[in-house]
Each structure stands twice: as structure tokens, then as C-alpha cells.
Symmetry: C2
């Protein structure tokens, strides 16, 4: 059994590789919901949508978000009525937002809505939100206290970042099944997602970090930092803002209390050697996913490395 | 000042003629909201939408509802998720439903939402819902107690009709401005809409019928019954179900307590003569609107007739 913690576009690509080599009944995906927003009054969950569309074969590969081949006629009409249009909800994508909003208004939890949408789209992999409570990633900048989507989509992550917090996290509970999925997994994978705004919100939900520390699973993270910079997006900026090194060592540090193995890109072989000298297990593989074959190859390489027996304690002590 | 009571597609065509010959600041439209429904959890007001789109030059002339040139990609995606698709909300049309739902969720009244949408679409004519309370036209049939849209759109008005009622009407209040618009108008027009399901819901709102009876305005109805049958839709079926004759006499009877003048189609000249003999003032004009010129001509003819001085009492007594 494999449980994946994920969010964002890097995470969706990684999950796409996994789903092609792992039977669906062996996969559980726990998804960041810190980016969720009310858009035109509809409940939108960007990371749940990306993962669900990916698993349903509907994700736009060019954009990395939304439904492939989608149109934006409703969005244009909203713009004509003077409503905001910076979050690009497509016409087909809107069906998901409207359906989810209706399920929530009918009293369903986000877990239940997620599972119903996934099932209607033919997704067999289990997809869980990190929590059914509202946890909001807030990015403090000189321009104000922004929601993640305001910071990332509306303002193109141009603002200097003072700090990041997860509003509501301390009162949140993990979604039903999330803790068990971590505790009972053979392998827990952290996708090459932004540690600060895709993985940290999940870790901020009380109980999740403890479950990772206590799980019998091998816990393996794939570094989203390659050659000292984020593959895409603001992961580097945000790690620096949170006082982490923008390096594979910074990623290892971010997950220090529960990580068994860090998978880093082959171009970080030298840094990997240094990191091994601190006692961290590190596996090198091509992690940048341009083509579908790259996604499958990375998934295979990560699972192979995860299934290797850990080095004998003596070897670690020698390091 | 002219106030129009309207609903449905016949009403929208009639209003289209009026708006082309009357300055916008002289027109108030009071619209049936008995057909309003929650569709996918969104608040949809079919008659408010048709009138607003018509006044904004956006109404699909071919369909008589929805936005011209609209697409249905969200609807298709909803269908793929197993959701109902019988109410055809187009992608551009959805913008209105989403925006209105958001305004209502934010605590605005239906009047305020209507006025905000109209203003964003550049409509200068005043458009009022009949009420800010929920009044639901329910059609009792052997197949069950249906909402109007279920009866009309979903089931194509194929069910025999036992009765029609306006749930919630007795507790409803007229929308702000509606009573004044009737009382202070020079002319009140009843559009050639279905009397039972487009006009009667408005009349069922406490205070409206009284205002019509007491108004100093000339009150003029255009008959939607031509040659003993409805021009379109189920007006005939529904009038019969409500024990009204399916004739211009039935229409006159429907509005008997406040009507000053009935405009009927030229082909009903003989029936008009009979009706005049009962004391009703009747004006004959071509009322079937195929082309835009027909709409303008009908509006002109109705206003001309409305502005004629009423016949001297002696003439009525002689009849």
C-alpha cells in the first residue's frame, strides 16, 4: 500500500507516473487543500481538482491545471459583468466547482464530495483531502495578507514574502482515513511539490506529522529543488522566506523528523554525497518530468529505491 | 409612466417591442418569479433572465430563452457526472446564475440582485421581481406535484393538469417599488404571457391585485389566446384546468376585476364584438409577433389604444 502526500502541478505529474505502474486499489492520495478558495461563491479546490482530473485522464497537460480542451465562455461573461476573472475557471471545470459546492451546501463533507466527484469521473484511486476543516494558506507580503491563489495566480508570485501561515490548522482534524492511510502504508511518498505551500499545509493538520513519524512505512520525499532552484513556481522563494536553504539539504531539513529517504535529481549528485555524510539516505534519479516516460521512470525509480532495504545502522554510523 | 406585468417568452417579445418605442426611464417591468428554481444549487430565475437578456440585447431570438450564441460545455460536463441536464443552462447564461446566487448568498435581496445584474448588463429599464419572497408555481398532475419548470421544461407539459397553486404567495410581499409602480403608472400593461403561470403568480402576491384595482392607470392586457388557442405553450391547457374558457372572453374573465381594455388579435374580431357587448373594451390588432416589426407595431398599437379616452359611460350602457 502506497500513500502519497501531494499538491500543485509537480505533484500531479508525479501521481500520473505512479498511477501508470501501481494498481489503483494500492494507492491513496492525500491532497493539500490550503489553496481552496471561494470563487464567485463556489468552493474551488485547485489541488484536489488537478489530482482528480489527472487520475480521470482529463487534466490539461499544456496548462497543468483545469480540464483539457476547456473553454472560458462563462468566465468571459463574468468579466462582462465586472466580476473578477483572474482565476481561470473553464466551462467544463465549472461543473466540478458547481457540483462540489452543491454537495457541500447539501451537508456533505469535503471528503464525501471529493469521493463522489472522483467516482463520477471514473477515478478508482482513493483521493482524500487533508482535512474536512477549512485550513487556509496565507502568504504575508508587503502588499497584504494574501490567500495562496491571490499570491500565486492573481499576482504571479511577484511579491516579496514575509511569512506563510496556515490559518485554521490548529483547530483542524485530518480527513477520515488520512491517519490510517499513513500509519498502515508500506511506503509514504511526498511528491515533488512545493514544501512550503503544498506539503506543509498537510503537515500542519494536527496528527499528520505525528503519524508520519510513527508510521512503519518507509517515508520517501522527491525533491522539488533541482540544482539549487525550484523546477517551477515559487518553492525556492517560499523556502527562503521560511529560512530553509534552497537546496536538497533544505528539503531534507524540511522533512527531517520523519524522512527515511530523499530522492534528488541526478544533477545534484555532489550535493547528495554531502547530504549522505549527515546520515540522510539519498537516491539520485532524473526527477524533471518533461514527457510521460519521464513520469513513469521517476515513479519506478522512487518505488525501487523505497523498496531497497535501508542500509545497516553501522553504515550510517560510519557516515 | 408605463408598468408592465410579464413572464415567459411572449412577454419578452412584447417588452422588446415596447423598449424600442418607449424611453427606458418611463418603463418599469414587474416580472414573474414563480418559475424560479434551484438548479445545481444555483438560483435561477428564468423570466427575470429572459427579460433582462432581452433588454440587454443578449436574448437568443431563436430559442426565446438564454444568451444568444451560447454554448453548453458545463452542462455536458455535468451530464458526464450524472447530474440532471434537462434545464439547459448555457455557459454564458451560467454567469448570471452564479453571480445572482453569490449576491443572494451575500445577503442581497432578489430585487437588489436583479438590479445589479441589469445594471452590469447595461439595462436602463427598471426591472423588478414580483417579490423578494419565494413564491413557487406548483402544477399538480397525476405524475405528482411539479414545479413549473419540471412541468414545462423537463416533462414538456405533457401531463394532464389537476390544479395550479402558488406556494408561499400568501406570506409574500411585493418587491419594493412594485406597488408604487402600479399605483403611479399612467398605463399598466399585462403582456401576452400565460395568464395562469406567468401573470397569476404576480397577482397572487398580496397587495398587487388590489393595487391594480385601485390604480388610476389604464390597465390593458394583451391576449395570449388567439383563435381559441394559445399562441405558444400551455396557456390553453392551464386556463382550461383553472376552469377558464380558452378564448379572449376567458382572458377578460381572468382579469375581470381590474381590466380596462383587452387587446386581442385581429382574427378574433367576431369574438371581440361579442365581448364588447358585455361591456368590456376591446381593441383588435395583429398580436402574433413573428418579426421585430410585429413587436414594434403591437407595442405602438397597444399604447395608442391605451391612450384613447375611454368611451363615454352612455356608450357602455348602450352595449
Amino acid at each position: 500500500m502506497i500513500t502519497v502526500l501531494t499538491g500543485g502541478t509537480g505533484g500531479a505529474k508525479f501521481v500520473d507516473g505512479l498511477r501508470q505502474i501501481v494498481p489503483p486499489e494500492e494507492l491513496t492520495i492525500i491532497v493539500n487543500t490550503g489553496d481552496d478558495l471561494l470563487w464567485w461563491g463556489l468552493y474551488v479546490s485547485p489541488d484536489l481538482d488537478s489530482i482528480t482530473y489527472m487520475l480521470a485522464g482529463k487534466l490539461s497537460q499544456e496548462r497543468g491545471w483545469g480540464v483539457k480542451g476547456d473553454t472560458f465562455f462563462c468566465l468571459n461573461a463574468m468579466g462582462q459583468m465586472g466580476q473578477p476573472t483572474w482565476f481561470h475557471a473553464g466551462d467544463r471545470d465549472l461543473a466540478t466547482h458547481i457540483f462540489r459546492s452543491k454537495l457541500l451546501a447539501d451537508g456533505k463533507t469535503l471528503s464525501e464530495a471529493t469521493s463522489e466527484i472522483a467516482s463520477k469521473l471514473g477515478v478508482k484511486v482513493r483521493v482524500l483531502p487533508m482535512s474536512n476543516s477549512r485550513v487556509e494558506t496565507r502568504v504575508l507580503t508587503p502588499a497584504g495578507d494574501l490567500s495562496f491563489e491571490e499570491y500565486f495566480v492573481q499576482r504571479w508570485y511577484q511579491d516579496p514574502v514575509v511569512s506563510v501561515r496556515f490559518a485554521g490548522a490548529s483547530d483542524a482534524e485530518p480527513a477520515p482515513g488520512a491517519i490510517e492511510a499513513i500509519r498502515s502504508a508500506d511506503i509514504v511518498l511526498l511528491a515533488p511539490s512545493n514544501p512550503v505551500t503544498s506539503i506543509a499545509p498537510i503537515l500542519a493538520v494536527p496528527g499528520i506529522r505525528e503519524a508520519l513519524r510513527e508510521s512503519r512505512a518507509r517515508t520517501v520525499a522527491v525533491s522539488p529543488i533541482v540544482g539549487g532552484a525550484a523546477v517551477t513556481g515559487p518553492a525556492g522563494i517560499l523556502m527562503a522566506a521560511q529560512k530553509f536553504a534552497v537546496s536538497i539539504a533544505g528539503v531534507a531539513d524540511f522533512y527531517h523528523d520523519f524522512l527515511d529517504l530523499l530522492v534528488v535529481d541526478s544533477q545534484d549528485a555532489t550535493a547528495a554525497e554531502e547530504l549522505r555524510s549527515t546520515g540522510m539516505q539519498v537516491h539520485c534519479a532524473p526527477t524533471v518530468m518533461h514527457k510521460n516516460e519521464d513520469r513513469i521512470a521517476l515513479a519506478k525509480s522512487v518505488l525501487d529505491a523505497a523498496m531497497q532495504p535501508p542500509p545497516a545502522p553501522a553504515a550510517v554510523e560510519r557516515a
